[in-house]
């Protein structure tokens, strides 16, 4: 779980900084990260365009290393690893992005309740978040899967439950900052009804930084998803999935070490790219240079 390390986001200072900051030149890191993410997304959306037949078994060509016919080599059943990586992008990404999205939505509602729900409801919501956060994210996800069973959808739900309390905390702090801000004070003095203040001022100013946090969190979610798959609790075989591929490759490390290399690299690069791109987005949004 990526703990938010930044101080409560201050929209006014950020707006000032944005207006001051000269147009930044593009830096190579975020650009490369974005390019790789585009590639992964393309693979997830149109796997058929980039590779074909992830399930074609060819025992004669089993456990080949990278070569001309199979760029990334083949697995124990002679299936093309490149094709399986490409087709594996969808479930991997689905688990990562889907659970982040759900966790963001749930966490936003949760955090707003925590900030604006008064002493009873708000306090209860945040104590519940504290309890859930006491468990490491992956343990929490394992616990949920143990209860509701394995599978892609359940993995998404499990990771959502694991990530949502973190989002809730960030949203709560941000909502408290916004609620105490002079512009909400001004809106109250103009006589705007509370619902309007919530929808026009509080939610937009809370959600904008949340989007950035979510991007950074996608990486964490992908790792959590891959970990569940690795343990056989995510998408079920024969569907290709990076974490599951890594788990299978473990049995054949002696015969073909590249079998573990490529799914591992896919996970690592995707998570890194998501994190780098997220940080760049965050820096841009907060009006400072990426650290």
């Amino acid at each position: 779980m990526t703990a938010p390390t930044t101080a409560p986001y201050d929209p006014v200072r950020a707006a000032e900084a944005r207006s001051r900051a000269p147009r930044r030149q593009l830096r190579p890191g975020p650009v490369l990260a974005a390019a790789f993410l585009v590639l992964v997304c393309a693979a997830a959306a149109f796997p058929g365009l980039l590779a074909h037949a992830p399930d074609q078994v060819d025992p004669a060509a089993a456990l080949r290393g990278p070569g001309a016919g199979h760029l990334f080599g083949t697995d124990e059943l002679g299936r093309d690893v490149l094709a399986r990586i490409v087709y594996g992008a969808r479930p991997s990404l689905l688990v990562g992005a889907g659970s982040t999205l759900l966790a963001g939505l749930a966490g936003a509602a949760w955090g707003l309740l925590g900030a604006l729900g008064g002493r009873m409801a708000g306090g209860a919501a945040m104590r519940a978040a504290d309890v859930l956060l006491a468990f490491p994210a992956i343990l929490m996800a394992l616990l949920v899967v143990a209860v509701i069973g394995p599978g892609t959808r359940n993995a998404v739900l499990a990771i959502t439950v694991a990530l949502a309390p973190g989002f809730a905390r960030v949203v709560r702090v941000q909502a408290l900052v916004v609620r105490g801000s002079p512009y909400v004070r001004a809106a109250v003095n103009l006589g705007l009804p509370p619902v309007r203040i919530l929808t026009r001022h509080i939610v937009p100013n809370v959600v904008a930084p949340l989007l950035v946090l979510a991007t950074v969190n996608v990486g964490t979610a992908i790792i959590a998803g891959a970990s569940l798959s690795f343990l056989g609790l995510g998408p079920q075989p024969p569907d290709p999935e990076w974490g599951a591929m890594l788990a299978q490759a473990r049995d054949y490390l002696d015969a073909s070490w590249t079998l573990a290399l490529f799914p591992g690299a896919a996970i690592t690069l995707t998570v890194m790219s998501a994190t780098v791109a997220g940080r760049a987005l965050q820096a841009r949004y907060e009006g400072r240079d990426a650290a």
Binding site: V12, N189, G191
Partner: protein, 617 residues
């Protein structure tokens, strides 16, 4: 000493940025003798602080400094190595900054902070060091120095922190003390004490370079004055002479913009707002005397009377504006007595009856912020609320705005209950009472354009083009053009932002506007514009103002009546002329005595009011 202690000539400081070179200081120069106080005056961005920091070798990262002469104690500062600079700073030149809370290390005890220059420069060690530090704190007017010695900055009040900072700056007995806005964040009575302290150093032979935007402070402290505008020294001369008869149009406008406690009360006069001219005289775009020559050609500095120079083609000429403040009330066309034109009725719009409010302090004890305050705000009047920080002004404002409920007492709006009713009942009436506060930018949703900010105060039925038209009309009322409708407030200047805030407050057509320190963050010329705007709006729309300020001069200029607060209570209330002219409460008298005045000249040692020396213990 024969020659000047510090001499600067032909100084220019440039900052290369991605958008081109910013020329922060151009061809500046001055000479400063021992025991003399030179004040550098100008608005934000005029280059005054950069000029002073150059003397410390701290012009800033990437700064390109050039000078014909840059000497101190006979040494050429241009040739100093970083190591030599460090030996100079704190040892020969002391530096006092504006904000003592951020300038003091929060994790270090006050005594260690003051001891540092002595240690670094090897001037004292061991027990001797502690004794010296205690003596320094005592000298800086810190009461009970043995206790303060061991405290941390957050345990001290603002005035005490500033004194500790001065103690640290004078620790090594520097021959030059640079004070950059040393009293800007302080209450007037504390300000008076800090200024006395600086003045005492000057009398002991230390040269003081005072950076300030406050001409009244300058009038009190300075022997000589340098006025900067757009990076240029536009006028320079002996303080008394220059301040009584400014030669440069900017100096004259600046002086005319200062709300003073003496002289006739005048309608605040707006100075034309304009960015500095790119070519020629930088003030040409705002100057009433500017002609084609001014716009095309930079005027050279020319002598103007004994010891004075001015950088103007029309020095001392009378523009269509008042220069010096007349000694007797005259009838110049723009001198409109405010109160004659505004007839405040006797009907109370807001009645505050015996309100009290307590807050729990971090220690757990209760602090009375407001205690039994009663007053009436009458229809069409401007009521000033003055007092020092912590006197309960802002808490009173928040109770009047019904942002917080009083513990006791009540507030009536138009004779109907306003405090103590349910928010749901109050909400439809909230449009009647509006707020303009000190920091307009933070009171705008950072995602909103000017149109949306102002439009939010309009009735919700109004939409589309009609709404936009109405917002543009409101902007027109506060002197802004429709071209800023789609801009983000963060991209506006401070004065423009405050105008937008006023336009938003006007949008629902209120009967009362609560102004909480509306001009205290603005440059004095911009401040004059905003005050003029508020005065005009009041005359035209008959809106009542509850005007909260720590600046008695501003209140005098804007208000009909004034209420003085201290420690949560009203000590005096009445007509401005009566209260400020013949104060009855001892506190009001002390407060007024502490206010520096533009035309009082430099005062000899003023007996500092003995009040407010307390700090948390």
């Amino acid at each position: 000493m024969s020659g000047p202690l510090a001499e600067v000539a032909g100084l220019s400081v440039e900052f290369p940025t991605r958008r081109g070179v910013v020329r922060a200081v151009r061809d500046a120069g001055f000479a400063l003798h021992a025991g003399e106080c030179l004040a550098v005056v100008g608005e934000s961005g005029s280059g005054k602080s950069v000029t002073a920091r150059t003397l410390l070798g701290l012009a800033g990262p990437g700064a390109r400094v050039r000078a014909d002469t840059l000497s101190f104690e006979g040494r050429d500062l241009r040739a100093l190595t970083p190591r030599e600079w460090r030996r100079l700073r704190g040892r020969r030149i002391g530096y006092v900054l504006q904000d003592a809370l951020t300038s003091l290390d929060p994790l270090r005890r006050v005594g260690d902070e003051v001891a540092e220059p002595l240690e670094v420069h090897g001037l004292a060690t061991g027990d001797d060091l502690d004794d010296q530090v205690v003596a320094l704190l005592a000298e800086a007017g810190v009461p009970d120095p043995e206790t303060r010695f061991l405290q941390y900055p957050h345990e001290l009040s603002g005035g005490l922190r500033q004194r500790a900072l001065i103690a640290s700056a004078i620790a090594a007995r520097p021959s030059l003390l640079i004070a950059d806005e040393p009293t800007t964040a302080l209450d007037v009575t504390v300000q008076a004490q800090v200024l006395d302290l600086l003045d005492a150093r000057r009398r002991d032979g230390t040269a003081v370079l005072l950076i300030s935007h406050d001409l009244a402070v300058v009038a009190r402290m300075a022997d000589r004055v340098t006025i900067m505008y757009g990076g240029l020294v536009v006028e320079e001369g002996p303080a008394a002479d220059l301040l009584s008869s400014p030669a440069h149009p900017y100096a004259a406008d600046l002086l005319a913009a200062v709300p003073d406690l003496d002289g006739p009360v005048r309608e605040p006069r707006a100075v034309r707002p304009a960015p500095a001219s790119p070519s020629g005289c930088p003030y040409a775009s705002r100057c009433g005397l500017a002609d084609d020559r001014c716009r095309g050609e930079l005027p050279p500095p020319v002598p103007y009377g004994p010891g004075r120079t001015v950088r103007c083609f029309h020095p001392g000429e009378d523009a269509p504006r008042p220069t010096a403040r007349p000694a007797v009330p005259d009838v110049a066309p723009d001198v409109v007595p405010v109160r004659a034109s505004t007839v405040a009725s006797e009907r109370a719009v807001v009645s505050v009856r015996g309100i009290a409010k307590r807050f729990r302090s971090p220690g757990g004890s209760w602090r009375r912020a407001v205690d039994g305050v009663s007053f009436e705000l009458r229809a069409g009047e401007a009521l000033g609320l003055v007092g020092e920080s912590g006197s309960g002004k802002s808490t009173t404002a928040r109770i009047v705005l019904a942002e917080i409920a009083p513990d006791a007492g009540e507030v009536l709006l138009d004779g109907e209950a306003w405090s103590g009713v349910r928010e749901r009942e109050r909400r439809p009436r909230r449009s009647r009472i509006q707020l303009v506060d000190q920091d307009p930018l933070s009171s705008f949703d950072p995602r909103f354009t000017v149109e949306r900010v102002v439009g939010e105060g309009l009735p919700r039925g109004l939409t589309g083009a009609r709404r936009r038209e109405r917002v543009a009309a409101l902007l027109g009322e506060v002197g802004l053009g429709p071209e800023i409708l789609d801009r983000l407030p963060a991209r506006l200047s401070g004065g423009q932002r405050q105008r937008v805030a006023i336009a938003r407050a006007l949008a629902p057509g209120p009967e009362v506007i609560v102004c909480d320190e509306p001009v205290s963050a603005l440059d004095v010329t911009v401040q004059a514009q905003i005050l003029a705007l508020l005065a005009r709006l009041r005359r035209e729309s008959g809106v009542s103002l509850l005007f909260i300020s720590h600046d008695v001069g501003v209140v005098r200029q804007v208000c009909d009546r004034v209420a003085v607060m201290k420690d949560g209570s009203l000590v005096e209330i009445g007509g401005v002329a009566a209260v400020l002219g013949a104060p009855r409460a001892p506190y009001t008298r002390a407060l007024l005595a502490a206010v520096p005045r533009l035309h009082a000249g430099r005062r000899a040692a003023v007996p500092a009011p003995a009040m407010d020396l307390k700090g948390p213990t």
